[in-house]
Amino acid sequence: MAVCGALVRSGRLSRPISGRNSAFIGSRFAVVKRLASALSYVPETAPSDFGETTKMNLFQSINSAMDVALANDPTAVIFGEDVAFGGVFRCTIGLADKYGKDRVFNTPLCEQGIAGFGIGMAVMGATAIAEIQFADYIFPAFDQIVNEAAKYRYRSGNLFDCGRLTMRAPCGAVGHGALYHSQSPEAFFAHVPGIKVVIPRGPIQAKGLLLACIKDDNPCIFLEPKILYRAAVEHVPVGDFSLPLSSAEVVVEGKDVTMVAWGTQVQVLREVCNMAQEKLGVSCELIDLRTIMPWDSETVIKSVNKTGRLLVAHEAPLTGGFAAEVASTVQSECFLHLEAPVERVCGYDTPFPHIFEPFYMPDKWRCFEAVKKLINY
């Protein structure tokens, strides 16, 4: 955390990570082209009934969601480390000025305190939006989340609950984040009955899903793929709208192979869809899970019953990753429809490396190979 602070203050972590030529850390080094699969974000269009839109990147759309939340709900507050000046990823820029220091405020550097404090506020009926600076640092809060937040309603016989709590954290690979600025911890939380885990794939999704989480009367963990903060730009509705939780979305329709992912990986698999069509004549159906827990198994099962082949991909390590849950459910529900064993393309079972990131990631070539395996089984 101290290192991160230093990186942020020196302006390094806040440098734009754009698609192809992302500058290597520090402007004094020559610009190094990322040979590994550089991210290219394909913008989407918002449904027209969500009203007027404007161009926003991911952090702006999240900022907009919180702006709407605080405007509509006088009990809503945002807190965490460094949120008052705007946040290390600019997600809370302007909100302290607009809503006051009692509603958008810094806390001491203590994740277990942030989580506990947020739970307490929510128990009193206030809408608490807690920020954890990096998902990698959520673990001190694990006890509060697992033993308290998730179980509050159940253990009290519905006398008390902390449904008004939403915790947000940036997650996922960013190109140079290494062990402690790249993690995707969704699998840990998927294993806890009582909380919801949500991951958006872009700005429109982020705003709609975050607003849904804030309004949802269960404690929610909202993980934001940090590499998309600047890289993903879309025309996002400016008003109040939400997207449904526990509802997977078919992003690309197809008939030969079902692909399931969330967050940044959806963009990676989009490219794999194109590669499969061009090079193999294979039509892939791409599903964004959106909510990891409770997940929409019905959409996935329906798709696999149609295609007979499933690929699940995520950055988090293979063993015990959420792909295992999806694969297990699919083999149970779609056994007779399967044409090939389920393929999982994930991070390796190691801590997230620094210099070796290009080899570690479940990139489009590894995913493409998996598609070939599925087709040729």
């Binding site: 277990q112 016989g157 009582g194 269960n218």
Partner: protein, 477 residues
Amino acid sequence: MEIYVNILKAPRNHVVELAKMAAVRSVFRVRSLMQQGFYGFYRNSASFAVRNVSIGSKISIAPGQKRQMSSQTLDLEEDKPQFPGSRSEFTKKLEFITPDVYNGIPVYRVLDRQGKIIEADQDPKLSKEAVYDMYHKMTLLNTMDRILYESQRQGRISFYMTNYGEEATHMGSAAALNPGDVVFGQYREAGVLMYRGFTLDQFMNQCYGNAEDAGRGRQMPVHYGSKELNFVTISSPLGTQMPQASGAAYALKRSGKRLCVICYFGDGAASEGDAHAAFNFAATLECPIIFFCRNNGYAISTPTSEQYRGDGIAARGPSYGMATLRVDGNDAFAVYNAVKAARELAVNENRPVLIEAMTYRIGHHSTSDDSTAYRSVDEVNYWDKQDHPIGRLRHYMVNQGWWDMEKEKAWMKQARNEVMQAFQRAEKKKKPPPSELFYDTYREMLPHLQQQREQMRKHVAQYPENYPLENFEKDRD
């Protein structure tokens, strides 16, 4: 907001103009570098960054709230440390602060062991009814504890924790609060619930986990909760309630209700990281909360000498910036006065207060513990006989002429009858329907939980002989 100023070259009033232009709402005095030589190391670099230094700027303070601003005057006239992190003096002496420099924080006491008020001006002058109320509830709690402890030994309930020796910490504090004040407890505060009106039936129903348990049979005994009485349901992990209590207090402050939170915890739980988090958040975010530590000398078998090396929990309060008091926890009036005063501070000034109530855990940690394994029976007897909170209050009442041995005998008989009747009622009731295990995981019933509930029902319907169905109410559908 940052502004870059070339101090070496800029005249003083130019710097002030820059500051005004940069919308920094303050004026700071900077002496010429050359004269003072303070920023000597800047002679080589031609600029320094001035951050938002607020001196004399308006800071909004809630009504009645006093706040000590950290001094950030960059006044180079005086030779004081200018670090943003400290507000002190320089010293030439190399002298460690050693813990034994201080005597322990003294223990506030009102009633002596013979039940006499020591200083008349500390007498809370509670009415006869108020003192009766406290005494009746302390003894009723004690009676309920004995009967429920026994019932666990007989296999009727699965687990129990007694409150022996700590009754004054419960009643004294509860009596000083407003009924709307929110309570976050640990697990040895049943008396607070009893004081507020939790009935014997409600206590028993929770311990038996029967169909009338408000908690729906989901938790072990003594994990009470009551929305009506503003007592948040207990959980087993220690100390987790503490930062939650800070957050709840912050929400209460924002609501403008002029209520506070009281958070109970033990000497052991105070070692948890959550305790540190709670204190720090409450102090920095200015939360109206009373942190009430029941220092009863033991955390299961671990004595305080193995729990901490400093002067108990009270010594930690000032280091977080909290008003702190240590009090005799076996003295109901001292606890009452302490909490009353703490409440004033918390509600009127929106600040946390730490009270450490010194007491002794006369009973075992729980029915799963036999404390003779780690402490002497003599030690326990000493506290039971010489310094029992119930005894001290009884002496006071007898001294006032309000109580005598006849009344005592009659009341104890009545208390026992009431407890036994509630006990028998609770024991007869059935448990909730088995499908209750699936509800309230989320606010709404989810498809996968519905499927799992169906699987369970089908299985149990097929093999009912393997399940204790006769003790449970039937499922709703």
